[in-house]
């Protein structure tokens, strides 16, 4: 998904009216937002955080210092790790780590839904779509979290809904 398209999804999910124009910079097609009052902003997570503030939903950036730092950590993870690697092996490690992290968590910060959940969902969508039933079961916590986010009101929009099977099929693999 191109960054501009992703930001449009985010705008909609935040309830912002359309009106932002994005251009793309360089070979990695980094999004640039020309703001009305001030210099342009560059970078997916930078613009996303800006949009959250524009929508007056600062709580999505975390409420405490700890939560704020955790949200930014996962946003950075999204643009460096999720977007950075595409080899099957890297993705497997990434899902394994994330699965282990989410073992005792509902959302990435713990108990509160934040921008980190939205952008990680958008970023992982293309990988999760391709997972086999067995793999989805292997990364059970990621599957649970992903399924939860895709049903969160207004987030998924036109992205395909990924099917997760509730019953375990491969009991011995976990």
């Amino acid at each position: 998904m191109a960054a501009a398209a992703e930001l449009s999804l985010l705008e909609k999910s935040l309830g912002l009216s359309k009106g932002n124009k994005y251009s793309a910079q360089g070979e990695r097609q980094i999004p640039v937002l020309q703001t009305n009052n001030g210099p342009s902003l560059t970078g997916l997570t930078t613009i996303a955080a800006h949009l959250v503030k524009q929508a007056n939903k600062e709580y999505l950036l975390g409420s405490t210092a700890e939560e704020k730092a955790i949200v930014q950590q996962w946003l950075e993870y999204r643009v460096t790790q999720v977007d950075g690697h595409s080899s099957k092996n890297d993705i497997r490690t990434l899902l394994k780590d994330l699965n282990s992290y989410l073992e005792d968590k509902v959302y990435l910060t713990g108990y509160n839904f934040t921008l980190a959940d939205i952008l990680l969902y958008y970023g992982l969508h293309r990988f999760i779509v391709d997972l086999t039933v067995q793999e989805k079961e292997k990364y059970l916590n990621v599957s649970r979290w992903f399924c939860h986010i895709q049903h969160y009101p207004g987030i998924r929009q036109h992205l395909s809904s990924v099917v997760f099977i509730k019953n375990r099929l491969y009991t011995n693999s976990h």
């Binding site: 955080a49 955790i70 930014q72 950075e76």
Partner: protein, 908 residues
């Protein structure tokens, strides 16, 4: 909470420097662990630094840890900081990791290290100097400063990797580095070992991919329209309306051209090509063509300009060539001098003088400088062990001997320099030396030689460089090469050789010797000027009034920045020294090097036989000028650039503008009534023109060419949106609008013809003849866009400027000039591969498909521009843009070199 850090891990620097912020708000225990310890239970790979929070959560991102410390101290997050931190993670870190890996693990130096981070460093420097603040996010030091400082510190603490020209970055870095928390963090992590402390950590990191950070791309970045203020628009309109009146009188042609007090006097030299070789495209773009663009630009600015070059004719290379061809050295020089002169004439190089070094003036001036140096004690005699071939009964000077390079082991190193590693060699140090003439092994014997005492002159040289470099336009590679020579310390250099073909040494006992070419070749510039005018000293002994620009490829830098300046400073005769040393990187041919012996590459004399006009060659070579990094000549790219940039963009616009005047207005420029939209366009064109000037004043030749193409793209879009061909058939108001659009467009075409003059002089003259542009407007380029074709001006006959290059034409040229290495290896691969069909599809993707895709991209691009201009529905635009991007991707894949290529090569 507990902070886990490790010695020799770069991420620990900013974290430790920021930890102090949390003081008083939380207790931070610091634990030192090994760099390979797995602290975070859920991460597979080791990660340090890590902050374990009291809640049990972990922060494993360096930036997030720093951010947390700052948040605890009451700091509020802001967009600008977020932007810097995102940039640090996604752009700076990959580039820095590569640079550190090259430096510490692979032991590379200089540009090989700096090359991958230069762009990122420049970005920081520009941001700092543009916003005029001492820190990244404002007046006070903040999170972004600490994170970036920590990332950069390991590399930049070595001054060799903190480019001096980036002065804003320099002072920002110094300010932070002297602060106590930063100093202590550096102490803890690097343990006073500098960057080497990172070695164990870096060795565990994956090797950076070779493209990282230094991808050679010929593609322009997506253009963004700048926002314009009302004043800028008003000023552009006023300048436009003044028109031809604002042009100053043309400066009369002088002969000879001499400096004039109170004017800008620009002396331009191009490195003197060795007479005994036919120059290839890389040689041409490296010096003569680059210098020509600047000389032509300088004349358009009405600066008093003298551009000189000539063939470098003395030396062993000529003598060996003469032996090879069975001619005398003089005959060789006469023969090849003509070949050179013809090639440059064909390329339309506007020398004021193209001379040669074998003249009485050369002897006179060289001997004079030598006498001055001798008199002042900068020359001494010494006995030298030298290789002597008993069989040929002569001492073997540099190129008469070949052998293995003592530094890199290259088999065919010459006696003076290794072609592979570029290091200068003392012939006796060569391993397995051979006489080039008879192939016998020479013996070492002693003989008398003269030495230039460079160490004694080093101090003067450094003083001069200290005065010259700041604020000058020396290219970064020239500065770097010069500094690294000075850092290693200058050594005395022998200036005599056992040859006949050279400038005689005017000293008893040296009758059999001549001056070594590297001592007297650079003096060639002076003697060539002296052959042009007897008042040559007004150029060459006039440093106050003359601005000297010297163009060359990077291998020639030391002779121009060190050796000649030392000779001139030592002679104490007020010589004009180089003010701006402009050095290019190397141009490769397709995937390899130009090679005369293997018949690979296009050489100057062959370019004429390709049927491609000189201006197209000039355009493409300048478009890919190795400015800042190496670049490569590619036939496919030449075809693409000709068909897309010249034919579809520039040629199309200029031709349409002229055709509308002829067809709709009987050849007379119509009345123009500017609307606010037209005025904006005027201002955009003016802005781009000013950008062009800024770039060329800094000798950024390749970048300035992009400005021309941008203006023409604006023009195309303007015509496309306003559709004069429809409006001309409409109401009175519509017809007037068509007139304005046509008039403005043809004036933009006139401006482009002048801006194009340094790059494509013949095409420029053709456009100006077609438009009947008044003579003063053809020869002067101001910084403002003027109406040079007022209403009522009659233009001439308009005809197309460029021809489409066809695939089969280019394919056959590629084969003729040996660019077929890739195909060859592919054939080989296809034969040995189990799945030849797969390989097949890759190779056949070439000509027709690329052309078809290219046409599609152009078509779709125009369509998208039209939609945007009509302010169409956003979704519709987005859908069409997506199509365009997809087409571009397909095109890139079709053009891309198949990934198996390098492997195939090994089998050769």
């Amino acid at each position: 909470m507990r902070l886990f850090v490790s010695e020799g891990v770069p991420g620990c620097l900013p974290v430790l420097a920021a930890a102090g912020r949390a003081r008083g708000r939380a207790e931070v225990l610091i634990s030192t662990v090994g760099p390979e310890d797995c602290v975070v239970p859920f991460l597979t790979r080791p990660k340090v630094p890590v902050l374990q929070l009291d809640s049990g959560n972990y922060l494993f991102s360096t930036s997030a840890i720093c951010r947390y410390f700052f948040l605890l101290s009451g700091w509020e997050q802001d967009d600008l900081t977020n932007q810097w931190l995102e940039w640090e993670a996604t752009e700076l870190q990959p580039a820095l990791s590569a640079a550190l890996y090259y430096l510490v693990v692979q032991g590379k130096k200089g540009e090989d290290v700096l090359g991958s981070v230069r762009r990122a460093l420049t970005h920081i420097d520009h941001s700092l100097s543009r916003q005029n603040c001492p820190f990244l996010a404002g007046e006070t030091e903040s999170l972004a400063d600490i994170v970036l400082w920590g990332a950069l510190y390991p590399l930049l603490q070595d001054p060799a990797y903190l480019p001096e020209e980036l002065s804003a970055l320099h002072s920002w870095f110094q300010t932070l580095s002297t602060q106590e928390p930063c100093q202590r963090a550096a102490e803890t992590v690097l343990k006073q070992q500098g960057v080497l402390a990172l070695r164990p950590y870096l060795q565990k990191q994956p090797q950076p991919s070779p493209t990282e950070g230094r991808a050679v791309t010929n593609e322009p970045e997506e253009e963004e329209l700048a926002t314009l203020s009302e004043e800028e628009i008003a000023m552009a309109v006023t300048a436009w309306e003044k028109g031809l009146e604002s042009l100053p009188p043309l400066r009369p042609q002088q002969n000879p051209v001499l400096p004039v007090a109170g004017e800008r006097n620009v002396l331009i030299t191009s490195a003197l090509p060795y007479v005994n070789n036919v120059p290839h495209l890389g040689n041409i773009i490296g010096c003569v063509l680059s210098a020509d663009v600047f000389a032509r630009y300088s004349r358009l600015r009405q600066w008093n300009t003298l551009y000189l070059c000539g063939t470098d004719e003395y030396g062993t290379a000529t003598e060996t060539k003469a032996l090879e061809e069975g001619l005398t050295p003089q005959e060789i020089c006469d023969k090849y001098h003509i070949i050179h002169a013809d090639i440059y004439r064909w390329f339309n190089i506007s020398f004021d003088i193209f001379g040669r070094t074998t003249t009485p003036q050369q002897t006179k001036i060289t001997q004079d400088i030598f006498q001055q140096l001798l008199k002042r004690g900068f020359v001494w005699q010494d006995t030298v062990e030298q290789l002597r071939c008993e069989h040929c009964a002569r001492f073997l000077a540099d190129r008469f001997v070949e052998g293995m390079c003592p530094f890199c082991g290259y088999e065919e190193a010459r006696g003076d320099q290794c072609d592979k590693c570029g290091k200068l060699i003392n012939a006796v140090e060569l391993k397995k030396p051979q006489c080039k003439v008879c192939r016998s092994c020479p013996v070492v014997q002693s003989t008398q030689h003269l030495f230039l005492d460079l160490p004694k002159l080093e101090k003067r040289l450094e003083e001069w460089l200290g005065r010259t470099l700041p604020g000058s336009d020396w290219t970064p590679n020239a500065q770097f090469i010069t500094r690294s020579w000075l850092r290693d310390g200058l050594k005395p250099r022998c200036i005599t050789r056992d040859l006949k073909w050279g400038t005689p040494v005017p000293l008893e006992g040296f009758e059999d010797k001549v001056f070594y070419v590297w001592f007297d070749a650079t003096i060639g510039y002076l003697s060539i000027t002296a052959n042009y005018t007897d008042q040559w000293e007004r150029w060459w002994k006039n440093p106050e009034q003359v601005d000297l620009y010297q163009f060359m490829a990077k291998d020639n830098v030391p002779f121009h920045s060190l050796v000649f300046p030392c000779s001139a400073l030592g002679a104490e005769d007020n010589y004009t020294l180089v003010s701006h040393l402009i050095a290019t990187e190397y141009l490769n041919y397709e995937d390899g090097k130009f090679s005369k012996s293997r018949g690979v590459g296009v050489f100057g004399d062959m370019a004429q036989d390709t049927g491609i006009p000189a201006d197209i060659w000039r355009f493409y070579l300048l478009y890919i000028r190795p400015e800042g990094q190496d670049s490569a000549f590619s036939w496919t790219d030449l075809l693409l650039k000709n068909n897309s940039e010249l034919l579809n963009n520039l040629g199309n616009f200029i031709n349409r503008a002229g055709m509308f005047v002829s067809k709709f207005f009987g050849g007379y420029v119509p009345e123009m009534v500017l609307t606010p939209d037209d005025q904006r366009l005027l201002a955009h064109v003016t802005l781009e023109l000013q950008h062009y000037h800024q770039l060329l004043e800094k000798v950024r030749i390749r970048d300035a060419l992009r400005s021309i193409l941008t203006i023409s793209r604006h023009g195309n879009q303007y015509i496309q949106v306003n559709e004069p061909w429809k409006r001309i058939k409409g109401s009175e108001a519509d017809r007037q609008r068509a007139g304005t659009v046509t008039g403005l467009a043809v004036n933009i075409a006139a401006l482009l013809s002048v801006m194009l003059q340094p790059y494509m002089p013949t095409v420029s003259a053709t456009i100006q003849a077609q438009l009947q542009l008044p003579p003063p407007a053809c020869s002067i380029l101001l910084t403002n866009f003027l109406c040079t074709l007022p209403a009522g001006h009659q233009i001439g006959t308009v005809s197309p400027l460029f021809q489409k290059l066809e695939n089969d034409q280019i394919e056959s040229l590629r084969q003729r000039f040996g660019g077929g290495q890739l195909e060859e290896t592919f054939d080989l691969k296809a034969k040995t591969s189990l799945k030849p069909a797969v390989v097949e599809t890759v190779t056949t993707a070439r000509p027709q498909q690329i052309q078809a895709l290219m046409d599609e991209v152009t078509k779709q691009g125009n369509f998208v521009r039209e939609l945007k201009a009509q302010k169409a529905d956003k979704n519709e635009v987005a859908a069409e843009v997506a199509k365009l991007l997809d087409l571009k991707k397909q095109l890139a894949v079709a053009e891309g070199k198949p990934p198996e290529a390098p492997k195939g090569k090994k089998k050769k």
